[in-house]
């Protein structure tokens, strides 16, 4: 496996190791500059009372920023909204992507056109996605009202994004539309990797198509499900663009999620110290969440 490792231990740094260092140097510099440094710098900022409204007085406050954030009930409300938004997203993406993957796994004319079209939502910029859905949800001239009234589902124009009970599911719907294609592509790969033997064995045992799907396909797709759940949860928790474009945290805080709160705290209240503390809490929460999901993935394999 590693022909040079014995040699390396004997003679210190081998040619290969020097070559690897040279080839990795540019990456190391870039990652230091644009990820490691900012992460450490924001940890440092989070211990200071940095507010750009009074840039000349930056007192060291220790963990006060964290205490301040964690003691704020509004912060916990936004955590709840982020969790709700992420849960809707992950569940809906898993269900839709599974159905699409099963469809694209079949052999039929037009399958290639279908999978090419599937990339369209994935490629659309999130800003254009936000603009598109904002116009669809428009309470005066939007397509959603137009369509529902034409089919007789509702009798008069309904307010969509402006209704605090509907806001988060509607934003989630716009997000899901864009996220489903990638998830379907990933699940299709897991689906194609299932050995055909498993199916023929089940068929010999007399299992119906539905039973084969439940007892062969679904269990075999578990690694794919966990990968998609992990990725989508990460994306949903950090998502900002649609909240900015569709509602700006409104109406009345109904879409005030953690990512939006960080933005407001930092760039509208100019309180960089608490903003950094909040984004650190988000980063650590994301890390723990992914670690937990990866652990469960490793166990199930």
């Amino acid at each position: 496996m590693a022909p040079h490792s014995g040699e390396a231990r004997l003679r210190g740094v081998t040619y290969d190791e020097r070559a690897a260092a040279g080839l990795l140097a540019a990456l190391a510099v870039v990652l230091m500059a644009v990820t490691a440094f900012p992460i450490l710098y924001s940890l440092w900022i989070s211990f200071y009372g940095l507010n750009l409204r009074r840039p000349n007085r930056v007192p060291f406050v220790g963990l006060d920023n964290y205490a301040h954030v964690l003691a704020n009930p509004q912060f916990w409300d936004s955590v709840g909204r982020t969790a709700y938004f992420s849960a809707i997203t992950v569940v809906a993406v898993l269900v839709l992507a599974t159905l699409i993957a099963v469809l694209l796994d079949q052999d039929f004319p037009g399958r290639r056109i279908l999978s090419a079209c599937l990339l369209i939502p994935w490629a659309i910029p999130s800003v254009a996605n936000g603009l598109m859905w904002k116009w669809i949800y428009d309470s005066n001239y939007g397509a959603l009202n137009g369509l529902l009234m034409q089919v007789g589902f509702i009798s008069s124009a309904t307010i969509w994004l402006g209704d605090s009970a509907k806001t988060l599911p509607l934003i989630a719907n716009a997000f899901i539309w864009k996220e489903v294609p990638l998830a379907a592509i990933l699940l299709l790969v897991t689906l194609k990797a299932i050995p055909a033997d498993l199916y023929s064995a089940a068929r010999v045992d007399g299992a119906t198509a539905f039973k084969r799907f439940c007892h062969v396909t679904l269990p075999a797709m578990r690694p794919g499900f966990l990968l998609v759940a992990l990725y989508e949860a990460m994306m949903a928790v950090r998502h900002f663009d649609l909240f900015f474009l569709l509602t700006e945290g409104g109406p009345g805080g109904a879409s005030d999620v953690v990512a939006w709160r960080i933005y407001v705290e930092t760039f509208r209240n100019l309180s960089f110290g608490t903003g950094a503390a909040m984004s650190y809490i988000l980063a650590i929460a994301t890390l723990l969440m992914s670690y937990g999901l990866i652990r469960s993935l490793a166990q199930k394999l």
């Binding site: 290969d16 900012p38 999130s126 598109m132 988000l282 980063a283 890390l287």
Partner: protein, 311 residues
């Protein structure tokens, strides 16, 4: 696919049923994916009068390209925006932001191309080293790269903003190009490394025996074979930069550095802009990435799956 070959040829009616189910499912999927985009495009070519009709005209009665004409003429300096105070519904109204769209598109192109070039320059050598050289700390390197993918971009915004501001680089394309590396490079390295890993080790060994240095092996043996992976990685970096919104929102302030998403976002909250113009701006932002994605579908799908399996 091979599963069906094993299957005994089924009776006629189950085959018909299967065909019908597949056809219905395909139509439903196509409608789900395309209907919102269709409505975006349809709205962009409607007149001011038509777009506010109830019920909506799904297919415009009198399609017009006036919005796109306005964008291109004002962008190139051949037309001026309609002065303030003129009734927007009077027809031929050109909003003041119309002229910003083409320059913003130019900015988006410059930033995206620069990010693609830097991604390849940084990512290719690193990915080759990770895939083909056994060195101490290789696993560490992999974990570090993996960890950077977990950091939410919004957590990077605060420190980035302060540094960029201190360096006097606010409102410049340079700040965007550098910070976009944080969101693109780790993924590029993963896609490229998983591609290099699939190439036989013998290729590497043979070239080394022939006296090639590591760099020569990479340049002469691996690079020519890696074209599909390079295309895929280039596309991902381009699309990610073209579509990026959060960092651009923080760092850009004037039309000199604003990218297309920023101008488009400004239009969505601008009440003087007509609905059809809004949608035309959206179409402008959507066309380049969607064209690239559909044309290079194969490369993208294989790259996405490679990157995901590793990452």
């Amino acid at each position: 696919m091979s599963r069906d070959v094993i299957m005994v040829r089924p009776l006629l009616w189950p085959r018909l049923l299967r065909g019908a189910v597949l056809a219905v499912a395909s139509v439903v999927l196509l409608a789900y994916v395309l209907a919102p985009v269709f409505w975006l495009v349809s709205s962009s070519v409607q007149t001011e009068r038509e777009i506010v009709s109830i019920p909506p005209h799904w297919i415009p009665d009198e399609p017009t390209l006036q919005n796109f004409k306005a964008i291109f003429l004002t962008g190139l300096g051949y037309a001026q925006p309609t002065p303030t105070g003129v009734d927007p519904t009077s027809g031929g109204f050109i909003p003041s932001v119309a002229g910003n769209l083409l320059p913003a598109m130019g900015n988006s192109f410059i930033v995206s191309i620069a990010v693609v070039v830097l991604n390849l320059l940084v990512g290719v050598p690193a990915a080759y080293a990770i895939a083909k050289i056994r060195f101490r700390g290789r696993n560490m390197a992999l974990y570090v790269i993996l960890a950077t993918r977990v950091i939410p971009d919004i957590a990077l915004v605060v420190p980035f903003f302060l540094v960029v501001r201190k360096l006097g680089m606010l409102d410049s394309l340079g700040s965007l190009i550098i910070t976009y590396l944080a969101v693109t490079v780790p993924f590029s390295v993963f896609v490229l490394a998983s591609f290099f890993e699939q190439m036989p080790d013998d290729l590497d060994r043979a070239a080394r025996v022939d006296g090639c240095s590591r760099l020569q092996v990479l340049l002469r043996v691996f690079l020519p074979l890696a074209r599909p992976a390079l295309v895929a990685v280039g596309l991902f970096a381009f699309l990610a930069s073209w579509n990026e919104f959060l960092l651009a929102l923080m760092f850009t302030q004037t039309a000199a550095s604003q990218t297309l998403p920023i101008i488009v976002a400004g239009i969505t909250s601008d009440f003087t802009v007509s609905f059809s113009f809004l949608n035309a701006a959206g179409v402008l932002a959507v066309v380049p990435p969607v064209l690239l994605a559909v044309i290079f579908e194969r490369y993208i799908v294989s790259g996405l799956t490679a990157g995901a399996v590793k990452g």
